[in-house]
Symmetry: C2
Subunit: 185 residues, 2 copies
């Protein structure tokens, strides 16, 4: 009973922190706002998370897992190797079309943290290296694994250009380049 | 005399703010640190810049102008249209190889500010739309202006992937894709 209660308090704090980190940024979000908006006292928060950085890591872990599951289930709708690759970019476009989309959770944080924030950087790199590995796997049936980082750069380029311009042409152009590259290499 | 002195005080404050905004982020940099490190009192800073946001705009304007000049002078070293286009990516690689490179000044800020920070967003968009126009101009002699946003996405993808991975393969891969796209479209 007690551990269940702790779990829900922990989840509530993490959900609040995640929403604020994503919408208004990590540096712009203070512990006071997180406790106020999740309705807990500070000592309760620190029982669950030793620091704001620990909350950030938990947020990145959770959102990374969730995105990976959603992306996999999108890809699994297709059988042909090229369709499976292109579905990654359709997934991006669906994300970008969402009302509460404020850019890539991971790219947002990488631009905010100091270069020597080793633990946070490692968490971001883990997620991004997963995407690189995913492209590698998706390219295997085509015998074109040497293109995985090309696709990854188009993936990142689409995300950051959408963040800047708030428009969908970036992901459409990226997808067109994927088609072209697969055809000509 | 007095206006000259004001100019140098203004420049000193802006140089300090620029260094701190770039290295440690906008939200992480307080007015107190800027005054302390530029050796002025707060009232002097506020005589020159009405707010931290005004300092940020001045920083983005200045660094944007400087980058545009450096980029133009890089491009002007080449005559052939394709070489001129590729020199943009060589310019990126030189920037990334610098010791004090912490990513694109503009992409760093876009990830930090709230979506409704209209004035700051406009300044960032101005710079990024300049890059899109530049690719448009560079593609004219080849009759391929329809590819300008494709090149722009590769430009942004290279910058942000370098920010994440701290490695130069991103810009090499982006340059290879530019060559491929110019050849096959």
């Amino acid at each position: 009973m007690n551990s269940k209660k702790n779990e829900s308090v922990r989840e509530r704090i993490l959900a609040t922190a995640s929403r604020l980190f994503y919408k208004q940024g990590y540096a712009n979000t203070g512990i006071n706002q997180i406790t106020a908006e999740s309705g807990v006292v500070k000592s309760t928060l620190y029982q669950q998370f030793r620091s704001k950085e620990e909350l950030l890591i938990a947020y990145l872990e959770q959102v990374g897992k969730q995105l990976n599951v959603e992306l996999s289930s999108k890809i699994e709708q297709f059988e042909q190797p090229e369709e499976r690759i292109l579905s990654v970019f359709d997934f991006l476009k669906e994300l970008m079309s969402g009302k509460e989309f404020y850019g890539c959770n991971f790219l947002n944080i990488i631009s905010e943290i100091p270069e020597d924030a080793v633990v946070i950087r490692a968490q971001i790199l883990k997620q991004k290296n997963n995407i690189r590995k995913l492209f590698h796997e998706l390219l295997k049936p085509l015998g074109k694994t040497h293109l995985s980082d090309e696709l990854y750069i188009l993936f990142e380029g689409a995300l950051i250009a959408n963040k800047v311009h708030h428009e969908l042409w970036a992901v459409d152009k990226a997808k067109n380049m994927v088609i072209l590259i697969l055809k000509h290499t």
